[in-house]
């Protein structure tokens, strides 16, 4: 089963604008990660935020985490056509049991950057 939801499911913006995607999850987590997936390709790790962190930056990416609301946001600033992809949040659950380290992914946000 999937952990939660990304919001919105799809987002179309003009090149140069900022894109914000949200993710909600259900259980206690060790960390939350964001991945990008281009059409027909595997997932690429973008950024990881630990449960005791509130905000993290990497280049044009800014991630926030609110564990009280069980939510995260990914902001991409100054978007480029190459940012067109699906974006997934994935959680490393705290009490996964059985020694599993598998990530629990949301359903993704499909981002389209219009040139």
């Amino acid at each position: 089963s999937q952990q939660g939801e990304e919001d919105p499911q799809a987002l179309s913006i003009q090149e140069g604008e900022n894109a914000t995607m949200n993710c909600s999850y259900k259980t206690s987590i060790n960390n939350l990660q964001w991945y990008r997936q281009n059409s027909g390709r595997g997932l690429v790790h973008l950024i990881l935020i630990r449960s005791n962190e509130r905000e993290k930056h990497s280049g044009r990416l800014r991630v926030t985490l609110d564990t009280s609301k069980k939510s995260s946001s990914l902001l991409i600033t100054a978007s480029r056509a190459a940012d067109t992809a699906s974006y997934f949040c994935a959680t490393d659950e705290m009490y996964s049991g059985g020694g599993a380290d598998g990530l629990t992914f949301g359903k993704g946000t499909h981002l389209i950057i219009q040139p």
């Binding site: 990660q33 490393d92 598998g102 992914f105």
Partner: protein, 117 residues
């Protein structure tokens, strides 16, 4: 350097056929994961290996699914008597050894797209 590779990239099977999907993880990565991604959905965890030990197979949808990693490197996901609902992209990921309590970053392969007719 070489990333995670998977083969074949595309597989078409007739319903009832057995299929085998291969994953070559990054050299030195001890952890290996299989995920199933249905169209328009996020990946769902299937199973996890640490070296040759399969530590979690709770995500395997039925006993028709079987995974192995006999020498702690290459892994094979086998699906017996394929059904149409098995159609999906099967993703493999690996991660390097890390100190306990350090977060795990998984490196994904391109996936195998399985279509069952």
């Amino acid at each position: 350097g070489a990333g995670v590779s998977q083969s074949p990239r595309y597989k078409v099977a007739k319903r009832g056929q057995d299929v085998a999907l291969r994953c070559d993880p990054i050299s030195g990565h001890v952890s290996l994961f299989w995920y199933q991604q249905a169209l328009g959905q996020g990946p769902e965890f299937l199973t996890y290996f640490q070296n040759e030990a399969q530590l979690d197979k709770s995500g395997l949808p039925s006993d028709r699914f079987f995974a192995e990693r006999p020498e702690g490197s290459v892994s094979t996901l086998k699906i017996q008597r394929t059904q149409q609902e098995d159609s999906a992209v099967y993703l493999c990921a690996s991660s390097p050894p890390r100190p306990k309590r350090e977060p795990d970053t998984q490196y994904f392969g391109p996936g195998t797209r399985l279509t069952v007719l």
